[in-house]
Amino acid sequence: MLRFILSKKNHITLISGILIAFSYFSEFVLKNETLFKWPMIIASVIGVIPIALQAFSALKVKVVSIDVLVTIAVIGAFIIGEFTESAIVTFLFLFGAFLEQRTLNKTRSAIKELTQMAPENALKQMESGEFIEVEIDEVDVGDVLLVKTGAKVPVDGTVLTGEGYINEASITGESFPVSKAKGSLVYAGTILENGTLQITADRVGEDTTFGKIIELVEEAQDSKSEAERFIDKFSKYYTPAVLVLALIVWIISKNLELAITILVLGCPGALVIGVPVSNVAGIGNGARHGVLLKGSEVVQVFSRVDTIVFDKTGTLTIGKPKVVDSKLYADDSDTALNYLVSVESESDHLLAKAVIEYVNNPEYYPVGNTDVIKGKGIVADVDGHRVAVGNLALMEYEKVNLNKEMRDDISRFEQNGDSLVLTSIDGELNVLMGIRDKLRPDVKKHLQKLKALRVKNLVVLSGDNQATVDKVAEELGLTQAYGNMLPQDKSEFIKKLQKNGHKVAFVGDGVNDSPSLALADIGIAMGSGTDVAIETSDVVLMNSDFSRLPHALGLAKATARNMLQNIIIAVGVVLFLLANVFFSEWMNMSIGMLVHEASIFVVILNGMRLLGYKLR
């Protein structure tokens, strides 16, 4: 019964609207008092039914909702014979709810679009070898699936056979086809634009990258900031308080009309809906533009950031360093290079990879007594020799003597902005290599945008030598640059900034700087979509796309502003109405309800502006 009536709410609204229109037509055109009065009475009665039912179900679980206030007000008006008022108030309340639902759905559409991209079916290989279409829930890890042209990849998996191009926009926000062949990883929710693939399922359902993103976004949208929790608590007591206030006014003034007017005006509608609407629209905008903002609190803090600290490798640079310059000092340079490669093959350091890539057809020797010296390099025994591979600090540690030629070479390499890899064999410097990492495209332009958004300090921290870091900072227009930083130095540095009163965001790839990501007020991960960093950071830039950073900051600022506007509108309207009820003549229930519903509509529309936000 309850659900039947509630499902007909929109019809009731329509009928009550028609009745009210007819009744005014009777009064002004037909000049018939009876035909004026009765439609109003009927409109009041049918209109109040769904509201009263909702009020009753709320009271059953001990919640004093807005419906309760309105129901009492309408019944009160009815008792004192104000049928016009009661009819119009119920109509406006129902119509307001209808508009609210329509506009809220629009606001939520950003997320809906995302969840609708979730795959629903899959072609699964049965025991007979045939592929049969099944629901996504029936796919388990290890199943073999067929993906045809134009279809969605149903799970995170590995390509078994076939080739094709996949559009990974749902994961990365980047809409261009990526080539896939045997052994490539494919992600749920992405679309195979051409080709046919057979894949094995590695992760299914909520465990897929896409599933995790949806869950994070959903949680973010419903997460509450300090201010919101306060409003929630406030409105819990506020509604009953309005009820009590109306009661007191009635007892003192014996004016029932004034009392029920207060009930209507006191509804906190715009206040409870205003902030969540800004939040959902802002985070929804981010999700569509490759930016994951994890919740309302994150938005608030991020909007106040004045210092952004960048890790260099993998953040400002693309993270694929190459050997660009080298100098050999040994008589037998081939053997020296072979020793070097043998030692480097023990390491998974980025620079080691660059060195191995650089040396052609190396001969590998067995390596023993490998000792990693933190922040310096590696020392090991190869072929009966002591081989040290690392930076200048390691050479000092190993007491390697450098002649003038070597020192000149080293400072020239540093001037060029290279990272140095030096190799000594039995205490003699044999090889000097200069390694450089390409800057990400357009980094400078994006950093300028950050400055325009009033970020005062742009800092780069790196484990590289100071000269290299200075060069990068100069090229990009950063305000401060610090080299020779170990991971713990980086987090110390962030602590110092915070102590000096700065709000600090740290941008890193999450590989070796997770302490800094966690410590900073806002940790921003350059996520390739699969990293653990997605879970530990506050903001994720999908597909490691640096260009999303200015958008993310601009969006956070716009969202925080929008929330504040909505709070001001909501509180302002309630104060204005209450002041007028006591100090003006023209205020009554109907006007109060109209203004009240209008304010709800205004805050929702204001929040919706965020859906279209773009950084200029």
């Binding site: 509630l6 679980v61 001990k62 909702s65 639902q101 939520r108 949208q221 939040n279 959902v280």
Partner: protein
């Protein structure tokens, strides 16, 4: 203890979420701290003891408040 995620019809007022939360919390067998009704995504997440309480009862409780239940997922 089992974990349930219940997808509701689209909620339109934050006080609806509050009502549902109170009603679900009042059921015997529900872990009160685990109940989370999210307004924007219109979902109820909760943990409950399936010896004491059936999913049907939870569903009925929500329906009796006047809200439609669209989908229920149960995990161990």
């Amino acid at each position: 203890m089992k974990k349930a995620t219940i997808q509701l019809e689209t909620l339109t007022c934050p006080s609806c979420a509050m009502k549902i939360e109170k009603a679900v919390k009042s059921l015997d067998g529900v872990d009160k701290d685990s109940v989370n009704v999210t307004f924007m995504s219109s979902k109820v997440k909760l943990e409950f003891d399936d010896d004491k309480l059936s999913v049907d009862t939870i569903e009925k409780t929500i329906k009796s408040l006047g809200y439609e239940v669209k989908k229920i997922q149960i995990k161990d």
